[in-house]
């Protein structure tokens, strides 16, 4: 793992949080969208908050795809789950929302999970992958022979 790869992981966390927050902010301007006026959703793109949110979410998706090209799915998903924590902290410091004891516990658990996975290997090597595949087919043939 190089410094640049950690930056990409941080990008996933930050861009998904920021994109979602901007979208939510923009959709508040629009008010409730009823199922009978779905065309209102098309006009939502004209709202600057929504446009910015979509751009950030596209950036998030690019970072996510990049990370998946060099790291395991079971590494990327927990490693970027700090976005849940980020949402709570943004709500606390910018919107002055209270963080209850159970939410603090949730933040601690997520942070611990991130620490656990980030300290381990980021990708299963192709040799290990072949080995686990061979083991799987071995047990399969054994079962067939039985």
């Amino acid at each position: 793992m190089t410094f640049r790869k950690y930056l990409v992981l941080a990008g996933i966390t930050v861009f998904s949080t920021a994109g979602d927050s901007l979208l939510a902010r923009g959709m508040k301007d629009l008010g409730g969208v009823s199922l009978h006026h779905l065309s209102a959703l098309l006009l939502a793109i004209l709202n600057p908050w929504v446009t910015a949110g979509i751009l950030l979410l596209l950036t998030f998706f690019a970072c996510y795809m990049s990370a998946l090209s060099w790291a395991d799915l079971t590494y990327v998903l927990p490693a970027t789950s700090l976005s849940y924590v980020l949402v709570a902290l943004v709500g606390h410091f910018r919107l002055h929302e209270e963080i209850s004891a159970s939410r603090w516990l949730g933040i601690a658990l997520i942070a611990a999970g991130v620490g656990f996975v980030a300290a381990g290997p980021s990708v299963t090597s192709s040799r290990q992958r072949r080995k686990s595949r061979a083991v799987a087919s071995d047990t399969l043939t054994q079962e067939v022979e039985r």
Partner: protein, 126 residues
């Protein structure tokens, strides 16, 4: 009754988003390290290679299904049930699916991480 619908939607969200994540991960592993490819062949080559990988399009479709199931789930159930339940269970489902279909080595460390994050996400929503 509406609760049953909400849980059906939650199950659909988990199934679709796990399928999507596994397919996208499979596609990107096939494309190979995007950074290296960019350096050697340029951005257009990266984009072309990703778009011509079949599992990428399938993964995007699965993600779209997951998104619409979320919308339906939200119209039937509570936000405070549907979002944390689907998000936390997706972490665990992904660990299982990645082990079976992508042959990733999911050791004790990664199981623990998936379960800790799943519990944390539930607590955040309480």
């Amino acid at each position: 009754m509406t609760n049953l619908y909400a849980w059906a939607a939650i199950a659909l969200i988990i199934l679709a988003s796990t399928t999507g994540d596994v397919l996208l991960s499979h596609a990107m592993k096939r494309v190979g390290d995007v950074g290296d490819l960019w350096k050697r062949r340029g951005m257009l080559a990266v984009v072309a290679r990703i778009l011509t990988t079949p599992t990428f399009a399938l993964g995007l479709m699965a993600m779209a299904v997951a998104f619409y199931s979320l919308l339906f789930g939200l119209s039937w159930g509570n936000l405070s049930l549907v979002v944390p339940a689907s998000a936390s269970l997706t972490f665990v489902a992904n660990a299982v699916a990645a082990r079976i279909f992508l042959h990733e080595q999911v050791g004790r460390r990664r199981w623990l991480a998936a379960v800790l994050v799943a519990c944390g996400v539930v607590l955040m929503a309480v």
